[in-house]
């Protein structure tokens, strides 16, 4: 009986451990320290703002973020004026004019992030057939999450001598199959941070992943705050209910 119980426990543990395997030939991404980790974690807003700068100046040349709106940027602590300025700097379609022709104009905070290409085909055509994925949910959409995105951004290297690379592909330690169509996007000093932070590759990658993590889960901070209140409430509720139960049942046992 005892042995069987252990067997059940071991099997249950195996279920927990048996997460769907990461790409077989790529090493697991090393764990990084993130401001948003853990049940108390919140986004480092300065890092997220720097990350937005990296996205705007580097990533957004090829990658869309179609589920974000400029108004959402209030979530990383940008002011209304800053957001209006960012939105006004892009030209967005604004329906039809009186002659029935497509009209364009400066964006407003209510507009969605402008995509770099009008459609998927145009994007592929510009990238040797490869499609740079939309980044709105990228941190959720990859096993390994933030650690994996950081590993990809910092994992470019020279291919091993015995490896034959396909045309236009780049070697990356952490990408499944090691051949990624994206050229190394970040270099030391690729962006100049207004707050004076030294822009190393690691710093840029860390900042942009913080921004992308926020973009994928913008509700996270509020969610955890409510979560603590809910769990605390339920713990008290459980205690009270159990006390009532004991009292009600006291004359039965």
């Amino acid at each position: 009986m005892g042995a069987l119980r252990h067997l059940v426990a071991a099997a249950a543990l195996a279920v927990v451990v048996a997460a769907p395997a990461l790409a077989q030939d790529a090493p697991p991404p090393p764990a990084q320290h993130w401001s948003f980790d853990g049940p108390f974690g919140a986004y480092d807003l300065a890092a997220a703002q720097r990350g937005f700068q990296v996205y705007s100046e580097v990533c957004s040349v090829c990658h869309s973020m179609e589920y974000l709106h400029y108004r959402d940027l209030a979530g990383i602590g940008l002011t209304e004026d800053q957001i209006k300025g960012i939105a006004a700097a892009v030209t967005v379609p604004q329906g039809l004019n009186d002659q029935g022709e497509p009209k364009e104009g400066p964006g407003t905070p209510a507009d969605a992030f402008k995509s770099p290409y009008p459609n998927e085909q145009a994007n592929r055509a510009a990238h040797n057939g490869a499609l740079p994925p939309d980044l709105s949910l990228i941190v959720n959409a990859r096993e390994g999450h933030a650690d994996y995105i950081y590993a990809i951004l910092t994992g470019f290297a020279d291919p091993p001598p015995d490896m034959k690379m396909q045309d236009g592909m780049n070697y990356n330690k952490y990408f499944p199959g090691h051949q990624i169509a994206m050229p190394p996007p970040l270099t030391d000093g690729r962006v100049t941070y207004a707050d004076g932070t030294h822009a190393t590759i690691e710093q840029e990658a860390h900042d942009v992943v913080t921004f992308l993590a926020w973009a994928a889960n913008p509700e996270m901070v509020q969610r955890k705050q409510i979560g603590w209140r809910v769990v605390l409430y339920l713990l008290i509720m459980t205690g009270l209910t159990y006390a009532v139960k004991r009292k009600v049942w006291s004359d039965v046992h």
Partner: protein
């Protein structure tokens, strides 16, 4: 007042209604004074917990449906709209998404309780069979619900599962085309799945009602698995079990809340954050965790039709379980061998779940075949034979005897009837 129901409620409005439609009398009879065995353990919480979870699923689902677009071009984006723009949309969606998992956890524990304490045995066979119908309806509802966000795993999961029907000879392919409403999983499929996903939970409520109605005819089983012999063996449902169920529901909500607020995507698949793409198959197509054991059974058979039959058979065998188990003793407590073997069966199911999460290669194929074999062996061979061979332990005389050593007094006001000696 000839021909009218006699009511004695002090509140005149309640009394007026009850005289004409005795719903208050019914509630009092079925949920307040209803005599319930006094020796339930906390395993008996899970029926109430599952019912509460069903209510939560329907409540959150109704509000999600107000903001969701069942169209292949819009579905994925509308879910993001719910997550980002709808007030507390993320909360509704994460409760609904994790609620499905919690519903299955509650139901699986509820089923295990039935298996361990022999709740399926006479006179509760029909009650048990209605329960299996509930499980099947839940599975269909959960499967169709998982398709709605229209992510990669939604799409490819739907493709794989609907394609199972193509295994049947002659009628197979026409059935699949008919299910899809076309020649692949596409907009008509999404539309009908949405429609059915909204409908089936209400059917589920109806069947749960039948389940409870049948329960209230034959009465609850209990951890000793022996019949109620006297009023000393029972307690009125309220307040004894309403309060005990409430304790269990609170604890269940803590786990539910921890999942929703701190790890809402723990049980999900990263691939479902990528919009459905009919031209790109994900590297692994894996169902949600609660379907993994069946998926492993399906893949353990090298023949497609055989696999499909085994998979459906693994549920259908539960319908005839009351007649496969030949032992007259209900509770595993008094069945020394069954008490061990039921745990072996549980281990087999858990291992099947692990196998279902892995690619069918190497050791996983062997393991899933061994466990599938044991799964069916347990029901089809062991249970019929064991009932004849096993020597059960002596059963207690009555419920109140082992618990209180001879029927202690019931609390005042707990029951209207005077005490009877057994």
């Amino acid at each position: 007042m000839a021909g009218q129901h006699e009511s004695n409620f002090s509140n005149p409005v309640v009394n007026w209604i009850d005289t004409r439609l005795p719903i208050f009398t019914m509630m009092q009879k079925e949920y307040a004074t209803f005599p319930t065995p006094k020796n339930f353990n906390y395993f008996w919480n899970f029926g109430a917990i599952a019912t509460v979870t069903l209510a939560i699923m329907i409540a959150t689902g109704i509000f999600l449906a107000m903001n969701y677009q069942p169209n292949t071009q819009l579905a994925f984006g509308s879910v993001q709209h719910i997550m980002r723009d709808v007030n507390y949309g993320w909360l509704l969606r994460y409760v609904h998404q994790n609620g499905a998992s919690m519903f299955f956890i509650a139901t699986y524990i509820h089923i295990f309780r039935g298996l361990y304490y022999g709740s399926y045995k006479t006179p509760r066979e029909l009650l048990w069979m209605i329960g299996v119908v509930i499980l099947l309806l839940m599975m269909a509802t959960a499967f169709m619900g998982y398709v709605l966000p229209w992510g990669q795993m939604s799409y490819w999961g739907a493709t794989v599962i609907t394609n199972l029907f193509s295994a049947f000879p002659i009628v197979g392919h026409p059935i699949v085309t008919w299910l899809w409403g076309g020649f692949s999983v596409d907009n008509p499929t999404l539309n009908r799945f949405f429609s059915l996903h909204y409908l089936l939970p209400f059917v589920l409520v109806g069947v749960v009602f039948l389940h409870v109605a049948a329960l209230h005819v034959v009465g609850s089983n209990n951890p000793l698995g022996i019949d109620v012999k006297s009023p000393q063996d029972t307690l009125p449902f309220h307040p004894y079990y309403t309060v005990k169920d409430s304790v269990g529901i609170c604890v269940f909500f803590i786990i539910f809340g921890a999942l929703v607020f701190f790890a809402p995507n723990l049980l999900g698949d990263a691939n479902n954050f990528i919009p459905a793409n009919p031209l790109q198959t994900p590297p692994d197509i894996v169902p949600e965790w609660y379907f993994l054991p069946y998926y492993a059974i399906l893949r353990s058979v090298p023949n497609k039709l055989g696999g499909v039959c085994m998979m459906f058979g693994s549920i259908l065998v539960l319908f005839v379980l009351p007649w496969l188990d030949t032992s007259k003793v209900r509770s595993a407590r008094f069945r020394p061998i069954y008490r061990q073997l039921i745990w072996v069966w549980v281990v087999a199911v858990i291992v099947l779940g692990v196998c279902g999460a892995h690619k069918p290669e190497g050791i996983w194929v062997v393991l899933s075949r061994v466990c599938t074999l044991y799964y069916f062996l347990h029901f089809l061979v062991i249970l019929p034979i064991l009932g004849k061979l096993e020597r059960p332990l002596p059963l207690p005389e009555s419920i109140s005897r082992p618990v209180t050593g001879g029927g202690g007094p019931l609390p005042s006001g707990a029951t209207a009837k005077p005490m009877e000696k057994a």
